[in-house]
Symmetry: C3
Amino acid sequence: MKTYRKELFFNIPKRRGLVNITQDVAQAISESKVQEGLVLVNAMHITASVFINDDEAGLHQDYETWLEKLAPEKPYGQYKHNGYEDNADAHLKRTIMGREVVCAITDGKLDFGPWEQIFYYELDGKREKRALIKIIGE
Amino acid sequence: MKTYRKELFFNIPKRRGLVNITQDVAQAISESKVQEGLVLVNAMHITASVFINDDEAGLHQDYETWLEKLAPEKPYGQYKHNGYEDNADAHLKRTIMGREVVCAITDGKLDFGPWEQIFYYELDGKREKRALIKIIGE
Amino acid sequence: MKTYRKELFFNIPKRRGLVNITQDVAQAISESKVQEGLVLVNAMHITASVFINDDEAGLHQDYETWLEKLAPEKPYGQYKHNGYEDNADAHLKRTIMGREVVCAITDGKLDFGPWEQIFYYELDGKREKRALIKIIGE
Protein backbone atom coordinates (compact mmCIF):
# COMPACT_ATOMS: atom_id res chain seq x y z
CA MET A 1 0.00 0.00 0.00
CA LYS A 2 1.20 3.50 -0.84
CA THR A 3 0.24 6.69 0.96
CA TYR A 4 1.01 10.27 0.08
CA ARG A 5 0.41 13.59 1.85
CA LYS A 6 0.53 17.14 0.60
CA GLU A 7 -0.68 20.50 1.86
CA LEU A 8 -2.03 23.34 -0.25
CA PHE A 9 -1.70 26.92 0.99
CA PHE A 10 -4.08 29.82 0.49
CA ASN A 11 -4.13 33.46 1.42
CA ILE A 12 -7.30 34.96 -0.05
CA PRO A 13 -7.24 38.77 0.15
CA LYS A 14 -11.01 39.01 0.66
CA ARG A 15 -13.43 37.53 3.19
CA ARG A 16 -14.62 34.96 0.67
CA GLY A 17 -13.21 33.46 -2.50
CA LEU A 18 -13.14 30.29 -4.61
CA VAL A 19 -10.03 28.53 -5.95
CA ASN A 20 -10.16 25.65 -8.43
CA ILE A 21 -7.69 23.09 -7.00
CA THR A 22 -8.43 20.22 -9.41
CA GLN A 23 -5.00 20.45 -11.05
CA ASP A 24 -3.26 20.55 -7.67
CA VAL A 25 -5.02 17.34 -6.66
CA ALA A 26 -4.25 15.74 -10.03
CA GLN A 27 -0.59 16.73 -9.58
CA ALA A 28 -0.48 15.18 -6.10
CA ILE A 29 -1.94 11.94 -7.46
CA SER A 30 0.75 11.91 -10.13
CA GLU A 31 3.46 12.49 -7.48
CA SER A 32 2.02 9.69 -5.31
CA LYS A 33 2.39 7.10 -8.09
CA VAL A 34 -0.88 5.57 -6.84
CA GLN A 35 -2.76 3.89 -9.71
CA GLU A 36 -5.84 2.63 -7.83
CA GLY A 37 -7.11 4.12 -4.58
CA LEU A 38 -8.79 7.03 -2.87
CA VAL A 39 -7.85 10.66 -2.38
CA LEU A 40 -9.18 12.73 0.52
CA VAL A 41 -9.06 16.51 0.15
CA ASN A 42 -10.15 18.52 3.17
CA ALA A 43 -10.01 22.05 4.47
CA MET A 44 -7.79 22.11 7.58
CA HIS A 45 -9.72 25.13 8.88
CA ILE A 46 -13.28 25.23 10.13
CA THR A 47 -14.30 28.33 8.19
CA ALA A 48 -13.40 26.95 4.77
CA SER A 49 -14.74 24.22 2.53
CA VAL A 50 -13.53 21.78 -0.10
CA PHE A 51 -16.33 20.77 -2.46
CA ILE A 52 -17.00 19.55 -6.00
CA ASN A 53 -19.15 21.34 -8.53
CA ASP A 54 -19.04 23.23 -11.82
CA ASP A 55 -16.33 25.79 -12.73
CA GLU A 56 -18.85 28.38 -13.91
CA ALA A 57 -18.68 32.01 -12.79
CA GLY A 58 -22.45 32.51 -12.67
CA LEU A 59 -22.88 29.52 -10.38
CA HIS A 60 -20.14 30.81 -8.10
CA GLN A 61 -22.00 34.11 -7.75
CA ASP A 62 -25.18 32.14 -7.04
CA TYR A 63 -23.36 30.32 -4.22
CA GLU A 64 -22.42 33.69 -2.71
CA THR A 65 -26.00 34.99 -2.78
CA TRP A 66 -27.49 31.72 -1.62
CA LEU A 67 -25.12 31.16 1.30
CA GLU A 68 -25.66 34.74 2.42
CA LYS A 69 -29.42 34.05 2.44
CA LEU A 70 -29.11 30.78 4.40
CA ALA A 71 -26.43 32.01 6.83
CA PRO A 72 -26.12 35.81 6.70
CA GLU A 73 -22.89 37.45 7.80
CA LYS A 74 -24.65 40.40 9.47
CA PRO A 75 -25.88 41.56 11.89
CA TYR A 76 -22.92 40.07 13.77
CA GLY A 77 -24.89 40.21 17.02
CA GLN A 78 -27.29 37.49 15.87
CA TYR A 79 -24.65 34.82 16.59
CA LYS A 80 -23.41 33.83 20.06
CA HIS A 81 -20.08 32.74 18.54
CA ASN A 82 -19.27 36.30 17.51
CA GLY A 83 -17.36 38.75 19.67
CA TYR A 84 -13.65 37.99 19.56
CA GLU A 85 -14.06 37.28 15.85
CA ASP A 86 -17.16 37.93 13.74
CA ASN A 87 -17.05 34.80 11.62
CA ALA A 88 -19.95 32.66 12.87
CA ASP A 89 -21.53 32.86 9.42
CA ALA A 90 -18.37 31.31 7.94
CA HIS A 91 -18.74 28.26 10.22
CA LEU A 92 -22.35 27.83 9.08
CA LYS A 93 -21.65 28.45 5.39
CA ARG A 94 -18.86 25.88 5.49
CA THR A 95 -21.28 23.40 7.09
CA ILE A 96 -23.54 23.68 4.04
CA MET A 97 -20.67 23.43 1.55
CA GLY A 98 -18.91 20.59 3.40
CA ARG A 99 -15.41 20.08 4.80
CA GLU A 100 -14.03 17.45 2.47
CA VAL A 101 -14.32 15.37 -0.66
CA VAL A 102 -13.25 11.79 -1.24
CA CYS A 103 -12.54 10.87 -4.87
CA ALA A 104 -11.64 7.67 -6.65
CA ILE A 105 -8.25 7.21 -8.33
CA THR A 106 -8.39 4.88 -11.34
CA ASP A 107 -5.51 4.24 -13.76
CA GLY A 108 -3.47 6.86 -11.93
CA LYS A 109 -6.03 9.63 -12.51
CA LEU A 110 -8.95 11.38 -10.81
CA ASP A 111 -11.97 9.26 -11.74
CA PHE A 112 -14.41 12.07 -12.49
CA GLY A 113 -17.62 12.72 -14.37
CA PRO A 114 -17.59 15.26 -17.20
CA TRP A 115 -18.01 18.48 -15.19
CA GLU A 116 -16.60 17.66 -11.76
CA GLN A 117 -14.06 20.16 -10.47
CA ILE A 118 -12.65 20.49 -6.94
CA PHE A 119 -12.76 23.87 -5.21
CA TYR A 120 -11.37 25.41 -2.07
CA TYR A 121 -13.96 27.86 -0.75
CA GLU A 122 -12.54 30.45 1.61
CA LEU A 123 -15.29 31.82 3.86
CA ASP A 124 -13.17 33.82 6.32
CA GLY A 125 -10.10 34.97 4.47
CA LYS A 126 -7.36 37.58 4.79
CA ARG A 127 -5.13 35.05 6.55
CA GLU A 128 -3.09 31.95 5.70
CA LYS A 129 -5.08 28.74 5.43
CA ARG A 130 -4.36 25.17 4.33
CA ALA A 131 -6.02 22.20 2.69
CA LEU A 132 -4.82 18.62 3.08
CA ILE A 133 -4.49 16.00 0.34
CA LYS A 134 -4.12 12.42 1.56
CA ILE A 135 -3.85 9.57 -0.90
CA ILE A 136 -3.98 5.85 -0.20
CA GLY A 137 -3.86 3.02 -2.69
CA GLU A 138 -1.38 1.03 -4.71
CA MET B 1 -4.83 -4.60 -1.42
CA LYS B 2 -7.85 -5.07 -3.65
CA THR B 3 -9.69 -2.35 -5.56
CA TYR B 4 -12.89 -2.54 -7.54
CA ARG B 5 -14.77 -0.08 -9.73
CA LYS B 6 -18.29 -0.08 -11.06
CA GLU B 7 -20.61 2.49 -12.59
CA LEU B 8 -24.37 2.69 -12.10
CA PHE B 9 -26.53 4.27 -14.82
CA PHE B 10 -29.70 6.30 -14.44
CA ASN B 11 -32.16 7.93 -16.78
CA ILE B 12 -34.89 9.48 -14.64
CA PRO B 13 -37.87 10.57 -16.76
CA LYS B 14 -38.65 13.56 -14.51
CA ARG B 15 -36.64 16.54 -13.30
CA ARG B 16 -36.19 14.95 -9.88
CA GLY B 17 -36.35 11.43 -8.53
CA LEU B 18 -34.90 9.10 -5.90
CA VAL B 19 -33.48 5.62 -6.47
CA ASN B 20 -32.51 3.25 -3.65
CA ILE B 21 -29.10 1.87 -4.71
CA THR B 22 -28.24 -0.02 -1.51
CA GLN B 23 -28.52 -3.41 -3.21
CA ASP B 24 -26.38 -2.26 -6.14
CA VAL B 25 -23.65 -1.21 -3.73
CA ALA B 26 -23.98 -4.47 -1.77
CA GLN B 27 -23.69 -6.39 -5.04
CA ALA B 28 -20.54 -4.47 -6.03
CA ILE B 29 -18.98 -5.25 -2.64
CA SER B 30 -19.77 -8.93 -3.19
CA GLU B 31 -18.20 -8.80 -6.67
CA SER B 32 -15.10 -7.07 -5.28
CA LYS B 33 -14.40 -9.89 -2.81
CA VAL B 34 -13.24 -7.21 -0.35
CA GLN B 35 -13.85 -8.34 3.24
CA GLU B 36 -12.52 -5.28 5.11
CA GLY B 37 -12.28 -1.81 3.63
CA LEU B 38 -14.11 1.27 2.43
CA VAL B 39 -16.57 1.91 -0.36
CA LEU B 40 -16.99 5.33 -1.96
CA VAL B 41 -20.23 5.99 -3.83
CA ASN B 42 -20.49 9.32 -5.62
CA ALA B 43 -22.63 11.04 -8.21
CA MET B 44 -20.50 11.67 -11.31
CA HIS B 45 -22.67 14.67 -12.18
CA ILE B 46 -22.90 17.96 -10.36
CA THR B 47 -26.69 18.14 -10.35
CA ALA B 48 -27.21 14.82 -8.56
CA SER B 49 -26.50 13.48 -5.09
CA VAL B 50 -25.67 10.22 -3.37
CA PHE B 51 -26.78 10.26 0.27
CA ILE B 52 -27.84 7.98 3.11
CA ASN B 53 -31.16 8.18 4.91
CA ASP B 54 -34.43 6.33 5.45
CA ASP B 55 -36.37 4.54 2.69
CA GLU B 56 -39.69 6.12 3.65
CA ALA B 57 -41.97 7.74 1.07
CA GLY B 58 -43.19 10.51 3.38
CA LEU B 59 -39.63 11.59 4.13
CA HIS B 60 -38.81 11.64 0.42
CA GLN B 61 -41.74 14.00 -0.19
CA ASP B 62 -40.49 16.12 2.72
CA TYR B 63 -37.07 16.35 1.03
CA GLU B 64 -38.76 17.63 -2.14
CA THR B 65 -40.69 20.34 -0.30
CA TRP B 66 -37.75 21.29 1.87
CA LEU B 67 -35.18 21.54 -0.91
CA GLU B 68 -37.61 23.60 -2.95
CA LYS B 69 -37.91 25.98 0.01
CA LEU B 70 -34.14 26.29 0.55
CA ALA B 71 -33.19 26.45 -3.16
CA PRO B 72 -36.29 27.13 -5.28
CA GLU B 73 -36.29 26.10 -8.94
CA LYS B 74 -38.19 29.22 -10.07
CA PRO B 75 -38.10 32.00 -11.02
CA TYR B 76 -35.21 30.90 -13.23
CA GLY B 77 -34.02 34.50 -13.54
CA GLN B 78 -32.98 34.63 -9.86
CA TYR B 79 -29.81 32.64 -10.66
CA LYS B 80 -26.87 33.90 -12.71
CA HIS B 81 -26.04 30.31 -13.71
CA ASN B 82 -29.30 29.99 -15.64
CA GLY B 83 -29.67 30.81 -19.30
CA TYR B 84 -28.25 28.01 -21.44
CA GLU B 85 -29.77 25.57 -18.96
CA ASP B 86 -32.15 26.39 -16.10
CA ASN B 87 -30.73 24.06 -13.50
CA ALA B 88 -28.97 26.32 -10.99
CA ASP B 89 -31.37 25.10 -8.29
CA ALA B 90 -30.18 21.53 -8.95
CA HIS B 91 -26.56 22.54 -8.22
CA LEU B 92 -27.66 24.10 -4.92
CA LYS B 93 -29.99 21.26 -3.92
CA ARG B 94 -27.21 18.76 -4.55
CA THR B 95 -24.90 20.85 -2.37
CA ILE B 96 -27.27 20.39 0.57
CA MET B 97 -27.75 16.67 -0.07
CA GLY B 98 -24.05 15.98 -0.72
CA ARG B 99 -22.08 14.44 -3.58
CA GLU B 100 -20.88 11.21 -2.01
CA VAL B 101 -20.95 8.71 0.81
CA VAL B 102 -18.11 6.65 2.23
CA CYS B 103 -19.16 3.46 4.00
CA ALA B 104 -17.32 0.77 5.92
CA ILE B 105 -17.07 -2.79 4.64
CA THR B 106 -16.83 -5.37 7.43
CA ASP B 107 -16.94 -9.14 6.96
CA GLY B 108 -17.60 -8.58 3.26
CA LYS B 109 -20.76 -6.52 3.89
CA LEU B 110 -21.94 -2.91 4.15
CA ASP B 111 -21.43 -2.06 7.82
CA PHE B 112 -24.67 -0.18 8.42
CA GLY B 113 -26.95 0.88 11.23
CA PRO B 114 -30.52 -0.41 11.28
CA TRP B 115 -32.15 2.10 8.88
CA GLU B 116 -29.32 3.27 6.66
CA GLN B 117 -30.07 3.08 2.94
CA ILE B 118 -28.11 4.62 0.06
CA PHE B 119 -29.95 6.77 -2.48
CA TYR B 120 -29.18 8.37 -5.80
CA TYR B 121 -31.06 11.67 -5.95
CA GLU B 122 -31.54 13.00 -9.45
CA LEU B 123 -32.08 16.77 -9.35
CA ASP B 124 -31.90 17.54 -13.08
CA GLY B 125 -33.11 14.46 -14.91
CA LYS B 126 -34.43 13.51 -18.36
CA ARG B 127 -30.90 12.52 -19.42
CA GLU B 128 -28.39 9.74 -18.80
CA LYS B 129 -26.39 10.07 -15.60
CA ARG B 130 -23.93 7.90 -13.70
CA ALA B 131 -22.78 7.13 -10.18
CA LEU B 132 -19.39 5.64 -9.33
CA ILE B 133 -18.66 2.87 -6.85
CA LYS B 134 -15.02 2.53 -5.84
CA ILE B 135 -13.96 -0.09 -3.31
CA ILE B 136 -10.59 -0.49 -1.62
CA GLY B 137 -9.61 -3.02 1.01
CA GLU B 138 -8.52 -6.61 1.32
CA MET C 1 -2.99 -3.47 5.06
CA LYS C 2 -4.51 -3.09 8.51
CA THR C 3 -8.16 -2.42 9.29
CA TYR C 4 -9.80 -1.64 12.60
CA ARG C 5 -13.43 -1.21 13.68
CA LYS C 6 -14.95 0.27 16.79
CA GLU C 7 -18.40 1.47 17.81
CA LEU C 8 -19.17 4.41 20.07
CA PHE C 9 -22.39 4.43 22.08
CA PHE C 10 -24.57 7.39 23.03
CA ASN C 11 -27.72 7.89 25.03
CA ILE C 12 -28.45 11.61 25.07
CA PRO C 13 -31.15 12.46 27.62
CA LYS C 14 -32.54 15.32 25.50
CA ARG C 15 -33.85 15.55 21.94
CA ARG C 16 -30.62 17.18 20.78
CA GLY C 17 -27.08 17.29 22.06
CA LEU C 18 -23.44 17.50 20.98
CA VAL C 19 -20.59 15.23 22.11
CA ASN C 20 -16.93 15.88 21.29
CA ILE C 21 -15.61 12.48 20.16
CA THR C 22 -12.16 13.57 18.98
CA GLN C 23 -10.38 11.73 21.79
CA ASP C 24 -12.41 8.56 21.14
CA VAL C 25 -11.32 8.63 17.50
CA ALA C 26 -7.70 9.35 18.46
CA GLN C 27 -7.85 6.41 20.90
CA ALA C 28 -9.20 4.08 18.19
CA ILE C 29 -6.38 5.14 15.85
CA SER C 30 -3.89 4.35 18.60
CA GLU C 31 -5.50 0.93 19.15
CA SER C 32 -5.44 0.21 15.40
CA LYS C 33 -1.65 0.70 15.20
CA VAL C 34 -2.25 2.29 11.76
CA GLN C 35 0.47 4.88 11.01
CA GLU C 36 -0.70 6.05 7.57
CA GLY C 37 -4.24 5.78 6.30
CA LEU C 38 -7.82 7.01 6.55
CA VAL C 39 -10.40 6.93 9.30
CA LEU C 40 -14.13 7.03 8.57
CA VAL C 41 -16.43 8.12 11.40
CA ASN C 42 -20.16 7.94 10.71
CA ALA C 43 -23.42 8.07 12.57
CA MET C 44 -25.11 4.66 12.28
CA HIS C 45 -28.50 6.34 12.66
CA ILE C 46 -30.26 8.59 10.20
CA THR C 47 -31.28 11.23 12.73
CA ALA C 48 -27.74 11.94 13.94
CA SER C 49 -24.62 13.48 12.45
CA VAL C 50 -20.86 13.24 12.74
CA PHE C 51 -19.18 16.48 11.70
CA ILE C 52 -16.05 18.57 12.23
CA ASN C 53 -16.01 22.11 13.55
CA ASP C 54 -14.98 24.22 16.53
CA ASP C 55 -15.47 23.18 20.17
CA GLU C 56 -16.98 26.51 21.17
CA ALA C 57 -20.19 26.73 23.19
CA GLY C 58 -21.48 29.86 21.45
CA LEU C 59 -21.14 28.23 18.05
CA HIS C 60 -22.98 25.15 19.27
CA GLN C 61 -25.89 27.34 20.36
CA ASP C 62 -25.77 29.03 16.95
CA TYR C 63 -26.08 25.60 15.30
CA GLU C 64 -29.20 24.93 17.36
CA THR C 65 -30.86 28.21 16.38
CA TRP C 66 -29.80 27.95 12.76
CA LEU C 67 -30.90 24.34 12.21
CA GLU C 68 -34.23 25.14 13.83
CA LYS C 69 -34.64 28.00 11.34
CA LEU C 70 -33.71 25.88 8.30
CA ALA C 71 -35.62 22.74 9.36
CA PRO C 72 -38.03 23.58 12.20
CA GLU C 73 -39.17 20.81 14.52
CA LYS C 74 -42.73 22.12 14.78
CA PRO C 75 -45.49 22.15 13.71
CA TYR C 76 -45.12 18.39 13.37
CA GLY C 77 -47.94 18.30 10.81
CA GLN C 78 -45.83 20.14 8.21
CA TYR C 79 -43.91 16.92 7.45
CA LYS C 80 -45.36 13.85 5.75
CA HIS C 81 -42.79 11.67 7.53
CA ASN C 82 -44.31 12.49 10.93
CA GLY C 83 -47.05 10.43 12.56
CA TYR C 84 -45.60 7.29 14.10
CA GLU C 85 -42.62 9.39 15.21
CA ASP C 86 -42.33 13.18 15.02
CA ASN C 87 -38.69 13.37 13.98
CA ALA C 88 -38.77 14.49 10.33
CA ASP C 89 -36.87 17.64 11.32
CA ALA C 90 -34.07 15.45 12.69
CA HIS C 91 -33.65 13.75 9.29
CA LEU C 92 -33.40 17.17 7.60
CA LYS C 93 -31.10 18.69 10.22
CA ARG C 94 -28.77 15.71 9.91
CA THR C 95 -28.75 16.18 6.14
CA ILE C 96 -27.34 19.69 6.60
CA MET C 97 -24.78 18.61 9.19
CA GLY C 98 -23.72 15.46 7.30
CA ARG C 99 -23.56 11.75 8.13
CA GLU C 100 -19.82 11.17 8.23
CA VAL C 101 -16.30 12.50 8.20
CA VAL C 102 -13.20 11.00 6.60
CA CYS C 103 -9.91 12.08 8.15
CA ALA C 104 -6.28 11.45 7.32
CA ILE C 105 -4.02 9.47 9.64
CA THR C 106 -0.37 10.55 9.46
CA ASP C 107 2.42 9.31 11.74
CA GLY C 108 -0.20 7.39 13.74
CA LYS C 109 -2.24 10.50 14.56
CA LEU C 110 -5.30 12.42 13.34
CA ASP C 111 -3.90 14.81 10.72
CA PHE C 112 -5.85 17.91 11.70
CA GLY C 113 -5.74 21.66 11.34
CA PRO C 114 -5.47 23.80 14.48
CA TRP C 115 -9.17 23.91 15.47
CA GLU C 116 -10.66 20.77 13.97
CA GLN C 117 -12.67 18.69 16.43
CA ILE C 118 -15.03 15.78 15.68
CA PHE C 119 -18.56 15.86 17.08
CA TYR C 120 -21.48 13.48 17.35
CA TYR C 121 -24.66 15.53 16.98
CA GLU C 122 -27.74 13.81 18.34
CA LEU C 123 -30.86 15.22 16.70
CA ASP C 124 -33.45 12.74 17.99
CA GLY C 125 -32.23 11.50 21.35
CA LYS C 126 -33.61 9.82 24.47
CA ARG C 127 -32.57 6.42 23.05
CA GLU C 128 -29.42 4.40 22.46
CA LYS C 129 -27.51 5.32 19.32
CA ARG C 130 -24.15 4.38 17.82
CA ALA C 131 -21.36 5.81 15.68
CA LEU C 132 -18.91 3.70 13.70
CA ILE C 133 -15.16 4.17 13.44
CA LYS C 134 -13.48 2.30 10.57
CA ILE C 135 -9.77 2.62 9.98
CA ILE C 136 -7.76 1.38 7.01
CA GLY C 137 -4.07 1.86 6.37
CA GLU C 138 -0.76 0.38 7.32
